[in-house]
Symmetry: D2
Subunit: 311 residues, 4 copies
Amino acid sequence: MPASYAYLGPEGTFTEVALRTLPETATRELVPMVSVPAALDAVRNGEAEAAFVPIENSVEGGITTTLDELVAGAPLMIYREVLLSITFALLVRPGTKMSEIKTVSAHPAAQPQVRNWMKANLPPDVVWESAASNADGARLVQEGRYDAAFAGEFAAARYGLEALETGIHDAENAQTRFVLVGRPARPAAPTGADKTSVVIWQRDDHPGGLRDLLGEFAVRGVNLMLLQSRPTGKGIGNYCFAIDAEGHISDRRVAEALMGLKRICLEVRYLGSYPRADATVKDVRVPQPGTSDAEFVAAADWVARCQDGRF
Amino acid sequence: MPASYAYLGPEGTFTEVALRTLPETATRELVPMVSVPAALDAVRNGEAEAAFVPIENSVEGGITTTLDELVAGAPLMIYREVLLSITFALLVRPGTKMSEIKTVSAHPAAQPQVRNWMKANLPPDVVWESAASNADGARLVQEGRYDAAFAGEFAAARYGLEALETGIHDAENAQTRFVLVGRPARPAAPTGADKTSVVIWQRDDHPGGLRDLLGEFAVRGVNLMLLQSRPTGKGIGNYCFAIDAEGHISDRRVAEALMGLKRICLEVRYLGSYPRADATVKDVRVPQPGTSDAEFVAAADWVARCQDGRF
Amino acid sequence: MPASYAYLGPEGTFTEVALRTLPETATRELVPMVSVPAALDAVRNGEAEAAFVPIENSVEGGITTTLDELVAGAPLMIYREVLLSITFALLVRPGTKMSEIKTVSAHPAAQPQVRNWMKANLPPDVVWESAASNADGARLVQEGRYDAAFAGEFAAARYGLEALETGIHDAENAQTRFVLVGRPARPAAPTGADKTSVVIWQRDDHPGGLRDLLGEFAVRGVNLMLLQSRPTGKGIGNYCFAIDAEGHISDRRVAEALMGLKRICLEVRYLGSYPRADATVKDVRVPQPGTSDAEFVAAADWVARCQDGRF
Amino acid sequence: MPASYAYLGPEGTFTEVALRTLPETATRELVPMVSVPAALDAVRNGEAEAAFVPIENSVEGGITTTLDELVAGAPLMIYREVLLSITFALLVRPGTKMSEIKTVSAHPAAQPQVRNWMKANLPPDVVWESAASNADGARLVQEGRYDAAFAGEFAAARYGLEALETGIHDAENAQTRFVLVGRPARPAAPTGADKTSVVIWQRDDHPGGLRDLLGEFAVRGVNLMLLQSRPTGKGIGNYCFAIDAEGHISDRRVAEALMGLKRICLEVRYLGSYPRADATVKDVRVPQPGTSDAEFVAAADWVARCQDGRF
């Protein structure tokens, strides 16, 4: 029985397309799940080796269900991320003309990306019908319930539809970020272009408190890529912070920054170190002076020699 | 014709209940709108004096639609906030017994608050049916489509239902924060327990960049109450930050911190200063040494005297 | 009766040479005083318009007598600074040859600047005889008490001596900084290349205390040129700090930084803003983004408009 | 041949008294030297095991000769410090009366401590005659050159003088700090009330540069006890900083702070960790939360487990 990857279903969505960009999926069983919690629970209870879920969208922001599932419950770790540009195709039954479209369907999350295009290109009286997923919208067009669906172009073949238009996107650079999540284990080896994710809970609340937490990164020259507050569930005004930092936990500057957080935070949850999907080694900025691994090692060696009186 | 307040409808939801806690609503026409954007647009185009919308929920986090509407488009300002504890009643047609419930309805956002209660109290095979709003769920029970609805207790009378149970809440301290939003004008007078909201865009991205922005508050002893990142729409990795800070823009320490942000940020959008709903003057911490208005005034006076050589 | 400038005497020293570089000395009576306290007291009690004294030496460091006099007692202000390169001439009675020198005299402070030269150029058995000032050493050579004196070349004519060697200096770039000190009055007008001097006393002592004080400058982009601790006289471990910062008190960033110090320090003593002797306008670094006067003014204007609701 | 300690002579000065408070001096030969450089050179070239020299005075500030000798040349380390309260006795030949005193002698450094007492107690026309040391002043009184000398009371017996008055001190709490300096070796074991001395050279000069250096201490909760700038000899405006920090290099927070400095400074010179003379363990403040050794160890362990995926 092959190891399986659970993912946020149904089949035929952007999530599946993003998942299939991972080479190892060729040898895995890919199992669509009804929800993010269901996908992550499959990992937690051992039914799946990993789960693949969206975590962030450049138009809508963080996928709070995913974040909250990672923040609470049994610990999980992120091993990979995938970035997928989100553009839509307008899918119709073969032969349908643009002017004949009276109803159009898609998941509500698609709306911000197609609204302007609709105004410019479809009859003004076209009716929007929300679907449970973009794939589901396409299926309903196949069944004749609606005239057209916004979905990934890849969904056309699956549902016997044709694309009247492709590349539809109101926002330039619209992307969704997906993560492959598993049970805690050794992080992926550093590639030189990595990212480390943690969640932190502040010990107390005072002027400068959050600045001091961020100072643990800044003083070691670690750049932040994301800072996302989430409610702790203890009432308005109580937050934890999901943070993505540049670098890998095996980088000395990152490790020391995490140690600093661990010391001054109420709690820190490590969510993994993994290759960046938005950059390769040659895109990564040179560490600022004094923060390279070599400089950390040299400084530690110097302190050890001072402690021994050999210098 | 009375001035009107638009609010996120329909009638009979928590939003309306929260809105009615504002005394001036007695003399305003209250107009339910189909969406947050619709409510805010009514203010922007002059149809309504103000709009009342949820902005944050202690279980689900920020209401991104509201945040994104405030961040972009014509400037708006927050003049009031209201905190409402969210507990649910289980509403049924009079006479229905707990054991007879086969279907239950509510807005999906209610689910995290009632899930555990359902497991403990309803038959295991009860079916959840999502509704467009909690009020709508109640209406569908009234019409006989479903057996029960989770909604605010106040909805019972409106829909001729009775509450089989009240005070249902999985999470203690579940609250929603609502804001009253209007066109820019002079902020509400300071009460001594105020809050100031801004949105900031970083000029560039470097290690310590965000820490330095927060330092503008910290160095003047201004406490942060909320820091919420939102995508700028320019692709993954590009964020602005919605910030709530303790104090009023007429407090010297807050004004100087805002000036500092204005100078070093790409952009700052002022969203208003208004009374805190979670505190009164006696709950507010004393400013840390050196950050009271009197100390600001004395220091400014001293510098002026130095500039004149009179000291 | 012309206004007089007191200076650290006697005549014929580097101090007098430095003082005479100030154009206005042509119309002032220049009065040598026996000590720095005597010169400054002459200003405090109205006998002199100003006093000219050394404050720092690039080899020996701060002139503590001058610093301590400025830190305590009736307030004084610095209006000008002068930098003088310190190189020595070896002065002898006309006809004396290098090989005939058995004794050499100068103020002890000259020793670090001539020690290596002596080893290389004078007989090894030459005897050093300390003098009360370099001018006094020259006088004693004139009187035949010693064979040679290290002094400024300018002293040769005054004492009828000739210079066997000029430009003697062990340390490259040896300079002394002198200041012209007067009673408090309006500071000199900004030139674009100015310096501001203050003395600060910390309110209390805790980890990060001094860093926070320096943060008042850093957060406004003000560079520090000098930080010199001085004992407060309350026992080992109690210090105040004399600080020179880039810029003029009429620069917004400097004024706001001083206000910040005034608020959080136990005490701040303003010592003046005056033209830099080491730089002209074209040498001065451009203020970092967000810290120019124009940006301060624009930010203050923006906050004022926010306070009024006009934006 | 016993190991010897060199010290700043001559015999009979406060330095010798301070030195003799160290128990091990009972078994050492104590060798007076003519100057601080001579005493330290005796250590550097192996003639002495250690040197005992003044480093700081609560009235006059840092002893720049000592600082500059430690900053430059072959590395040395501080192993002990001694604090000595400085009060003077007025020593005269037996039988001399106060009213008969016409001349009084002492080292110039004594003047700030006796000036007010002189005004109040000696004839107004008394003449001050500077001596090479307080002990030398006493010797000159013994020889009949001067009438009285300010010196430590302990000098009376040595020079056959008697004390007309003891406990003379203008400044309350006047103290001198002395250090015992040796060649680099393993520092003294931590006592729980220790101090660590370093000298740092900044890599470059920019707004916030010095604040960032101090931040390396602050972010780890290490308190600074002394910050003293010294010229580097490269001209006015070029300084290094001698720093005393609370704690021992074997304390994790101190070691990590030193590593941080080593990484971002041009150069760091370690001057030793040694017991504080001004405090015992019970006077030492509790480390701020998150900075104890136990918390450092726990955090390092946690990061190691994260790196291994075991948490």
